[in-house]
């Protein structure tokens, strides 16, 4: 049992780059992305016994990251601060890194993704960024596959419009 747990832990560790990528697409913020990945990893490890070996670890982890972001966004709404870019900037250690964060976050694609409704952004992030199959993406989000594809189609259309045909 211990070895299975260790195996799952090292599988999660190996997924960290992908979890960061997904979280960036989901939050559109560099620091937020790493914060929710950390929260998600901690949650996953305290409930590792709920993970059933043989089921899809990536779907499980993506859904935990997504729930962590929903919780975070909800508690921010409660506290009345949806985005606080200046404050986020202060948390960043050094100027070079801060500059890189600012530059990336200002990228057209990041800006456009932030403007999508959450439901469309989740679908785009799982399918177009993470490359999940429709069935798996739908399971991760807990919605029927037809709902996933229609959110995906609307998200894509909106991105095409914002990004000028994605040239």
């Amino acid at each position: 049992m211990t070895s299975a747990t260790d195996q799952t832990r090292s599988d999660i560790a190996a997924m960290l780059p992908r979890l960061r990528r997904f979280a960036r697409a989901l939050t559109g913020q560099m620091t937020d992305a790493d914060d929710i990945v950390q929260i998600a990893v901690e949650r996953a490890l305290t409930r590792i016994d709920q993970y059933q070996a043989g089921t899809q670890l990536d779907s499980w982890m993506f859904s935990i990251v997504r729930n962590a972001w929903i919780d975070e966004a909800r508690s921010r709404t409660r506290r009345g601060k949806v985005f606080a870019p200046a404050e986020l900037g202060e948390q960043v250690g050094n100027d070079g890194e801060a500059e890189m964060h600012t530059k990336l976050e200002a990228d057209d694609v990041w800006v456009a993704m932030r403007k999508l409704p959450d439901e469309q952004r989740e679908a785009v992030a799982l399918v177009c960024v993470e490359g999940l199959a429709y069935r798996k993406a739908a399971e991760t989000l807990g919605v029927p596959i037809g709902t996933l594809t229609s959110r995906l189609a609307r998200g894509r259309d909106a991105l095409q419009v914002m990004l000028g045909g994605a040239q």
Binding site: L16, L45, R66, G142
Partner: protein, 231 residues
Amino acid sequence: MSVDENMLMAFADGELSGAERDEVEAALEQDASLRGKLAAHQRLRARLSAAFDGALDEPVPARLAEAAEPRAADVVNLAERRAARWSALKWGAMAACVIFGVFVGIGVMNNDPPLMESESNGLVARGALATALDTQLASEQAGAVRIGLSFRAQDGRYCRTFDLTEGATAGLACRDADRWNVMMTMANAVGGEVRMAGAPPEVLAAVEAIIVGEPLDARGEAAAREANWRR
């Protein structure tokens, strides 16, 4: 034209095979505007990759690597927690069996009102389950009942998925004139907060079979509650 937007999108995402894929490929050969749309899909995916793939090449920050690192001390704790959870699960399963006995009408020996009752036309939600189906939004903190998706069924009724946090049971209920008919229930072994979002696959399949359009969003859900779930 037989190839619609959704089919083209599915093709671009590698979701089609066999006859459907052949159909799109044949249409692409003949239709320049379709080729243009496919190219736009591919450009968008390429731009999304370019924007976010950087995360794959960057070194992972130490705080994240440490969060995931196996540590001997934790393993013991986890084992203990697992043992504790197992007994909780067993008790939950036993409680669920007892509750199910109550559902089908034996419930005189239990002081808690039953959550479901068998009537001539099927299982009907009662007590905390009926209250949650009537009033609780998916976004609200769950008590004994967690609400998942709310949606319109083909027959015009509002339906909602739920799971019972204690009894490890998930299900689907649809609103008749003055009651919630429980359409299905099933054991939901992986309960708790870190389960897959929403309902288990079997319940989702039942949703898929009867849903019209999309699940209600938060506003639609609140409006339907306001209208007392009347069609």
